[in-house]
Each structure stands twice: as structure tokens, then as C-alpha cells.
Symmetry: C2
Subunit: 190 residues, 2 copies
């Protein structure tokens, strides 16, 4: 076996350091975004929270939108509920998980910062991926009973029961509103 | 008749100047918000666009959130469509007007900047007023056939047909999706 040469070993040490820095800064940036809002997400403040120099942050992520995309990297998987096969119960369960995630992940802040920066192509791609993943289980469930424009309408409507009050009023729907929404849509499917 | 004394007259000249400055800066701030996004809405940039000094802006609106609230002041009335009495046609018409307003007023940017700053009480109040006014005609129409949690669900769902794709994907629904949504909800009402 050939031992790795010195330069490769130095490189991989370097790579590991970069990866660690990236993970640290990413977590710190997400923490700032969800606890203090997008306006607090500056190079200086994230550097302070993460324990790195401002220079390090500017070197790796020169612009503010790169810092915001880095924060979104730390979000991890969107929580979903395990489907039981009962469409009504599964839709209600998924909307309850969505409602909880609004609080746990400060989705109002995440959604608004993604919308605000969507003119940057990379951010638009990240937004489509995050929101697409978030909405997929609802769409999949509804595709059992809808297709075409009705599927698209029902998906926006069911998502809107949680998303609209969140984004428009900073409020969350009660259980009886979630159930009423699911029943309305399923009645429309018959 | 008593002529106005000198100090009163000076005051009202002063008031008129302040009102004019306010109107000019407010319009410039809204223009920056909708054409360049919330991040470009700084004292320096708005001062340049409005043709006032940075010092003037800092004197009247010391914080960034005040500048943002000032921009929202310039928005004016949200457009609505005149109801005809045909519930289905009126809901479809109102959603089309809403869809057009997303483009004309950059409602994606407006909604996201309001959500982002909602931890400031004054901004939360402004957001509730703007979004409440925006949603009222839909709610009023739906209250002909729904009440309680079903009315709340239907209002979020109908708003969500335009609001969800806008905020989540920067996309707008086609006419057939809007019509499918209205038909779904009205079928659920029977």
C-alpha cells in the first residue's frame, strides 16, 4: 500500500478544518436567523456567535445571501408524520406537524427570508427544494383523490390553512380549523 | 378676524414641509422595497432616491423598521373587485385581482418584510391591518355560506390558492387552478 503523500494529507487536514468551520458557522447562522431574524444575520454577528473571525466568514461566504443560504443548510430534514393509510387522519396529522414546525423552526422567518432573496438564482433553487420537500407529502396524499388543476388547488389550499395565518398574521390555526379544512377538501373530492 | 400670528404661520409652514418630506421619502422607500427588495432599504439608499440628506432620514426615522413601516404607508388601498352577487364569479374575480396585485405591488416582498419584522409591535399592528384589509372581501363572501371554524378554514384556503405558490415558490396559479379552488370550497359548503 502506498501511504498518502504529505501534500494529500495536508490537504485532507485542511478539508476537515474547512468542513468543521462550515458546520459551525452554518449552525450559528441558523440560530441567529431563527432567534433574532434575518436582519441580524450579518458577518460580524454570526462570526461572534460562531467564535470565528469576521475575515474567515468574509473569505468563505463573501455576500450576505451566501450567509443566509449557509444558514438554511443547517435546517436538516423537514419533519413529516408516518402515514397510516387513513387519508383524513393522515392529512390532519401532517398539518399538525406542519403547525408545530412553524414554531420549532420559525418557519415564518425562514419562508420570508427565502422569498425576500428569491431573485438570486441559487436561493430560488434552495427555496424550491425546501418548500417542495415540505409540501410533497400533502401533495402525494391528495393525489389519491385529485389530479390536474384540482390537485394543484387542493395542495395550495391545504398548505394554506397553516401557511396563510402564519405568514399573514403570525397566528396558527386551532385543531378544529385544521379538521374543517381537511373535511371541506375531502367533501369536494367526492 | 384675527390674522394668524407669526409663530403659528411658521409652524404650519414647517408642518407642510415635514408632510411633504414624509410623502417623498415614503414613496421612495416603497419604490426601493418593491424594486430592489428589503435589504436595499437603507437610510443611505432611500435618501439618495428621494433626494434628501441621510441626516434628514435619520432624524425623522431613526431605525430601519421605521423606514420599512414608512414604505408600507405609501402602499395605498389594496385593490378589490366590485361584487356582482354571484358568489362563484365574485370569488374567482377577487382571486384574479389578488393574483394581479402580487405582481403589481410585489406582494411577495411586502408579505415577507412584514413577517420578518413582526416582532416589533407597531409592525405587527400594520401587518394585521394590511393583511386584514386584503383578506376581508374573501372572508365576507365566504361568510354567506360558512361560519365558525369552517369559515376560518375556507378563508385561509381560498387565500392560500394565491398566497401559497407566491410565498413558497414565487409562482402564480393559472385561471383553471383558481376556478378549481373556488368550486372545491363551494362544493364543500353544500
Amino acid at each position: 500500500m502506498t501511504p498518502p503523500d504529505r501534500s494529500e494529507s495536508a490537504d485532507s487536514g485542511q478539508d476537515a478544518r474547512v468542513a468543521r468551520t462550515r458546520a459551525d458557522v452554518s449552525r450559528a447562522a441558523l440560530q441567529v436567523l431563527t432567534s433574532e431574524g434575518a436582519d441580524a444575520l450579518t458577518h460580524a454577528h454570526v462570526a461572534e456567535i460562531a467564535g470565528y473571525s469576521k475575515t474567515t466568514l468574509y473569505t468563505h461566504w463573501p455576500s450576505r445571501v451566501e450567509l443566509i443560504m449557509l444558514a438554511l443548510d443547517a435546517m436538516g430534514e423537514f419533519p413529516h408524520q408516518e402515514p397510516t393509510g387513513d387519508l383524513r387522519a393522515d392529512l390532519i396529522g401532517e398539518l399538525r406537524v406542519f403547525r408545530q414546525a412553524v414554531t420549532d423552526f420559525r418557519l415564518d422567518q425562514i419562508l420570508s427570508v427565502m422569498a425576500q432573496w428569491a431573485s438570486v438564482d441559487d436561493m430560488a433553487a434552495i427555496r424550491d427544494r425546501i418548500n417542495g420537500d415540505g409540501q410533497r407529502p400533502i401533495r402525494t396524499m391528495l393525489s389519491q383523490v385529485f389530479e390536474g388543476p384540482r390537485l394543484q388547488a387542493a395542495t395550495s389550499m391545504i398548505s394554506g390553512v397553516v401557511a396563510c395565518p402564519t405568514v399573514m398574521f403570525g397566528a396558527l390555526p386551532d385543531d378544529d380549523v385544521i379538521e374543517a379544512a381537511v373535511d371541506l377538501v375531502l367533501k369536494g373530492a367526492r
